[in-house]
């Protein structure tokens, strides 16, 4: 009887330790990913507070729904959630813009791109950005001109350092599509940044 109690207590102790380990592990993951996730969200949304809200929402959803999953799955799951939230926000902005356009606003119905139209730095010209010495702003401006899927693939593969399989899981597409999107993104970015003669991107 005492032996059974001892085993049960030990089991409960292990469960508690496991839960604490899991909590510490997911906290470490969030700590590691939060700043880059915010930066990626901010580049897409171009609004600091909105970007912070989206990152927080993605964190909450990950912890609430997927904290029990193996830790190797957290990164693609987290970025999938974040990507979907960013898309939702972009759609919301698009609808708002179209409504404004319908009621006499200035946004064009066919050409509206929420990222390109979002308030950004003082100049949208990659050359001007690059020559000003601000490499990141030049890169951001070039990224804005990419199609959404290429931009996603580039950010996840290059900025976040995810492999092809993880990126595919995060984007919800095949690994072949990821390779294609990423390759096109890299070549297009190189063209955009290099064709302006900026040395630092050569």
């Amino acid at each position: 009887m005492e032996l059974a109690l001892s085993i049960a207590e030990r089991g409960a102790g292990l469960d508690r330790e496991r839960a604490l380990d899991s909590g510490a592990e997911i906290e470490a993951f969030l700590r590691e990913v939060e700043a880059r996730a915010y930066r990626i969200a901010a580049m897409n949304i171009r609004d600091r507070d909105e970007a912070l809200d989206l990152v927080q929402d993605a964190m909450i959803r990950l912890v609430r729904s997927y904290s029990h999953r193996p830790s190797e799955e957290w990164r693609p799951l987290f970025y999938r959630i974040l990507k979907n939230r960013i898309r939702d926000e972009q759609r919301r902005r698009t609808v708002r813009s179209r409504v404004l356009s319908f009621f006499g606003g200035t946004a064009s119905e066919e050409e509206y791109d929420p990222i390109a139209e979002a308030p950004g730095a003082s100049s949208d010209d990659p050359l001007e950005r690059a020559t000003s010495g601000d490499a990141m702003q030049a890169l951001e401006q070039a990224l804005k001109k990419l199609p959404a899927r290429q931009r996603e693939a580039f950010m996840l593969r290059n900025f976040e350092g995810m492999d092809v399989a993880q990126t595919a899981a995060a984007m919800g597409c095949t690994e072949g599509s990821v390779k294609t999107h990423y390759s096109r993104a890299v070549h297009r970015l190189r063209e955009m940044l290099a064709e302006h003669g900026e040395e630092q991107w050569a």
């Binding site: 600091r48 927080q56 904290s67 900025f159």
Partner: protein, 125 residues
């Protein structure tokens, strides 16, 4: 080959530029991110409470059901059950009872012929 090297250098460059921009985040933004992380981690607490709830609710229901059962239905001991079962078995399995009934038929015939019992059987007396 040269193009591949260039691509690779470009990729390293973009990664470095991005990492530098992340490292340069201001303190206020980092503070907001920390708060966001703590808020997200709060989600772990209710889950643990719910897990205990899922364990305790059925256990409580079972305990209540057992209490009602033993209060309403008088308990029967295992010994009583065993004795009753054995008696029933003995009666059902007893072969001599039928034999005894056949042997006593003569006695019952004689008893019926006795006058005092015959009157009693007719309702007289």
């Amino acid at each position: 080959m040269s193009d591949e090297k260039d691509v690779s250098a470009f990729e390293r460059k973009t990664k470095r530029v991005f990492d530098e921009s992340v490292a340069g985040l201001d303190a206020a933004t980092r503070s907001r991110l920390t708060q966001a992380r703590y808020r997200a981690l709060e989600e772990l607490k209710p889950r643990r409470s719910r897990a205990w709830g899922f364990t305790l609710v059925p256990a409580g229901a079972l305990a209540a059901a057992l209490l009602v059962w033993f209060t309403v239905v008088p308990p029967t001991t295992d010994v009583d059950l065993d004795v009753a079962s054995l008696n029933d078995l003995e009666i059902l399995l007893a072969e001599e009872d039928l034999e005894m009934l056949a042997e006593d038929l003569d006695f019952y015939g004689w008893l019926e012929e006795q006058p005092e019992f015959a009157d009693a059987g007719n309702g007289i007396g």
